[in-house]
């Protein structure tokens, strides 16, 4: 298992390298280089020069690329031009919010996906199945921010039942921050009112994001469970008198989880894209809203940092998923 993890991490190095290169290409080589983006196309040459020197853009492109990679490896993302703070520090401050949102959204999406998808597969061709298919295609067509706005309107404005923005009410942040995840820190501090408050704030954003992503999950779980339901070991389990619920969950779904998890890993990228929109809709102070905010300021180091960060996040999650997969699948584990 250890060797597997190690191999998997090593194998992802080329991918990280390519992702970093993509970010570099997008932000430096595409027309509209960072300096003109920051200063406008007709900036006086001396201003452009000094700015370029400040950002190291006057060097040959290969050297710049080397510097860029080296800096990222050292965890140096540069300083924000808006706040002058190191970008890495700002990302660290913002990351827990994004993490908390994505975790809860993922829980919701996976729950809907597994229950709805596997039930639909089990009841193939029946009404539940039809509803699941309509659900997934309809939800897929829904812009995440539109759903968010509608939920804000219904639960925040009409019913006044749930908070529609931010992570916490006033004075409702945990006293001691260990993880930066309000829910976890509240539990660690034993501040149950803070936990309740942060859960309330999480409801609408995570439901919005979770529901939208669940469309893909429902579809995916359905088709994979359909596949494994038609497999021999399911028929064989049935022939031994195993209960249907157990056939579905312990055999069909558990086996289907291996491909499902792999695809879920790929969908995580989709989730992060949705997170940017969700964070903006719900004023959620995570990296997504940070990216959008800093685009307004043309805060180049911050934009680059956030994009690189998202890329790395995707890689880390895909590694984690593969490890979970390996742990689930004895054929890989041994």
């Amino acid at each position: 298992m250890k060797t597997y993890i190690l191999t998997r991490v090593i194998l992802s190095i080329p991918m990280i390298f390519i992702l970093l290169t993509i970010v570099f290409v997008v932000l430096r080589i595409l027309p509209g280089n960072p300096v003109t983006a920051m200063l406008g196309p007709k900036a006086p040459p001396e201003v452009v020069k000094s700015m370029e020197a400040q950002l190291g853009l006057d060097k040959p492109i290969i050297i710049q690329f080397g510097d860029y990679i080296a800096n990222i490896l050292r965890g140096n993302f540069g300083d924000s031009t808006v706040t002058t703070l190191p970008v890495i520090q700002e990302l660290e401050e913002r990351f827990p919010a994004t993490l908390e949102l994505t975790i809860f959204a993922m829980i919701i999406a996976v729950t809907i996906g597994i229950f709805f998808g596997s039930t639909a597969a089990y009841r193939y061709g029946r009404p539940v199945d039809a509803i699941a298919r309509i659900y997934s295609i309809f939800v897929y067509s829904m812009p995440v921010f539109w759903l968010g706005i509608m939920l804000q309107l219904i639960f925040g404005v009409w019913l006044k039942a749930l908070p529609v923005s931010g992570r916490a009410s006033p004075f409702m942040t945990p006293d001691n921050m260990y993880t930066g995840l309000y829910t976890i820190d509240a539990i660690l501090n034993g501040q149950w009112n803070v936990l309740y408050d942060s859960l309330l704030h999480l409801v609408l954003p995570s439901v919005t994001l979770g529901v939208v992503i669940s469309s893909v999950f429902v579809r995916m779980v359905r088709s994979n469970v359909l596949l494994s339901l038609s497999s021999q070991y399911v028929i064989s389990a049935r022939s031994r008198g195993i209960k249907e619920s157990k056939v579905l969950y312990a055999h069909a779904l558990k086996n289907a989880m291996i491909p499902i998890l792999t695809i879920m890993g790929l969908q995580f990228a989709l989730l992060l894209g949705g997170a940017v929109l969700t964070e903006t809709t719900f004023s959620w102070p995570g990296i997504g809203s940070y990216l959008v905010e800093r685009i307004r300021y043309r805060d180049f180091p911050a934009i680059q940092g956030a994009v690189v960060f998202f890329a790395l996040f995707v890689v880390v999650v895909s590694i984690l998923i593969d490890i979970i997969n390996a742990w689930m699948d004895p054929r890989v584990r041994y």
Partner: protein, 506 residues
């Protein structure tokens, strides 16, 4: 399973009652805002909320009497200005201390002034343009030498850029991003970046202590969030900025008290006179005649702005209406005299920036576009750029006609005309306007020291501006606060310092 859910409900009830209990305390005031602050370093802070927060946690040599534009001593006990207006000598109060116990002395001031110039951040020009050098005479005596006599300089000293900083904490060569060291009524007790900031009284403050033990400033990302937070009772007071429609609704709502005050903040259109066709004063005039300020006031801002017919806002002495009201016929006749017709309309592009001035900006621009096009002789395109790009576009003369706003650095008519109309300053505004007569008037107004004489000069300046029309002033803003009725001590100030330290709950 059942017992667990029962238990859960019970716990929830307790939690909710705790929250209700927590929210009923009088010991704090929660202020909500949609503004962002980027830095609490006086050498860097230049946008409104950063400056306003510093004004509550730090003080300068001089300060304003709350609610007026009158200058009174702050950290300084008294001061002398030399006859030629070039040397200012300040005598500091005795025993002043920063919140961490370090002394506030002449050295701290010199350190702060030098640091501002050295760092060269956004507000630094306010000092570096005028100040020649600073001297420490002794621990409590501080001297400032100016490059030239500058009547409004004392107002600059009341601005955050001239506040002292603790030399032990604030590095000389870079912006400080840590917890601020206070010289004002409050200290920053807790700061969750982009979420909230908690203020507590500064025990070392020389003046009257702050009225409320805790001020919590909650940051919201948009007006909707702020509005909902206000309605739900999450915050006690909303300051900057609800949508006009929302504020109008709150005004109807008897559960809240609203405060409205004048603001020197103003909006205008800039013409880059170096770009065709805006070099032609006739065209600028024709466009000025097409603008209907009342439509903007009522349709976009629900009556919460005031039409402005000059560059000096109402409330600043010297202001006089010089611009014409909408007169489409006049506009049409000018355009026709220039040879424009329905088939050969005047083609212009109006630029704006979508988020810097709030979400009403696109609507404002679209309304202006329609007003111009209602002449039938103008085809107006609309384009936008984000703020950072926008600034550089105007510096580089990319944009011929664009929207801008102005919030003064010091409260003197000079700050509303010099930066716009003086030939060396106007390129920074993106206008490139230059008129020797105007330059002479402006310089004279800086040198004359009696108010009557200056008023006469500013009258002439405004009239000449209305002739040349390098700008079209549109409206001036309004300060608005919506608060729960139990919140007292709300003071809307002509110089727009919002004082958290005066707030308390009845």
């Amino acid at each position: 399973m059942k017992s667990i859910s029962k238990y859960g409900v019970f716990v929830l009830l307790i939690l909710m009652s705790m929250m209700v209990f927590a929210a009923s305390s009088k010991n704090y005031v929660i202020v909500g805002t949609t503004d962002k602050f980027t830095s609490l370093d006086p050498a860097k802070a230049y946008e409104y909320l950063s400056v306003n927060l510093i004004q509550n946690i730090m003080t300068g040599l001089v300060t304003y009497v709350p609610g007026t534009t009158q200058i009174i001593p702050g950290l300084a006990d008294s001061w002398n200005i030399s006859q030629d207006g070039l040397t200012y000598t300040f005598y500091l109060k005795k025993g002043l201390k920063f919140s961490n116990g370090d002394p506030i002395n002449a050295q701290a001031f010199k350190y702060a002034f030098d640091r501002v110039t050295k760092l060269g951040q956004d507000p630094s020009f306010l000092l570096s343009d005028v100040v020649k050098e600073t001297k420490v005479i002794n621990d409590t005596t501080f001297e400032i030498d100016l490059k030239y006599s500058f009547a409004p300089f004392i107002n600059i000293l009341a601005f955050t850029v001239a506040y002292p900083v603790d030399p032990k904490i604030y590095p000389a060569d870079q912006v400080y991003n840590g917890m601020p060291i206070s010289s004002g009524p409050y200290i920053v007790k807790r700061w969750v970046r982009d979420v909230e900031m908690e203020l507590a009284p500064n025990p070392n403050y020389y003046g009257d202590p702050a009225k409320t033990p805790t001020i919590l400033i909650k940051l919201y990302q948009d007006a909707n969030s702020l509005y909902l937070a206000l309605l739900s009772g999450e915050i006690d007071l909303a300051y900057r900025t609800l949508l006009p429609q929302q504020f109008a609704q709150i005004q109807q709502n008897n559960k809240f008290t609203t405060y409205v005050g004048q603001s020197p903040f103003m909006r205008f259109i800039v013409f880059n006179v170096k770009q065709d066709p805006f070099g032609n004063a006739k065209i600028r005039e024709a466009l000025a005649y097409a603008v209907n300020r009342h439509e903007i006031e009522s349709k976009i801002f629900a009556g919460q702005v005031k039409p402005l017919y000059t560059m000096i806002p109402v409330g600043i002495w010297g202001s006089m209406n010089v611009m014409p009201s909408q007169d489409i016929a006049k506009s049409v006749s000018i355009l026709q005299s220039l040879g424009y017709s329905k088939d050969k309309p005047l083609n212009i592009t109006l630029w704006y920036t979508p988020s810097h001035y709030g979400s009403t900006e696109a609507d404002l621009v679209l309304t202006l576009k329609n007003q111009f096009e209602s002449t039938g002789l103008i085809k107006c395109n609309v384009n936008y750029a984000e703020w950072a790009t926008y600034i550089d576009y105007w510096n580089k003369g990319v944009m011929g006609m664009f929207m801008l706003g102005w919030y003064p650095d010091y409260f003197d008519p000079d700050d509303f005309v010099w930066p716009f109309l003086q030939s060396s300053a106007s390129p920074l505004m993106g206008s490139n306007y230059s008129n020797p007569t105007m330059d002479q008037l402006l310089t004279d107004a800086r040198l004359v020291s009696d108010e009557a004489g200056r008023t006469a000069l500013y009258d002439a300046v405004q009239k000449l501006m209305a002739q040349d029309v390098p700008y079209i002033p549109l409206f001036q803003g309004e300060q608005q606060i919506a608060a729960k009725p139990e919140v007292a001590g709300v003071l809307l100030d002509p110089v727009q310092i919002f004082r958290y330290y005066l707030l308390y709950k009845k």
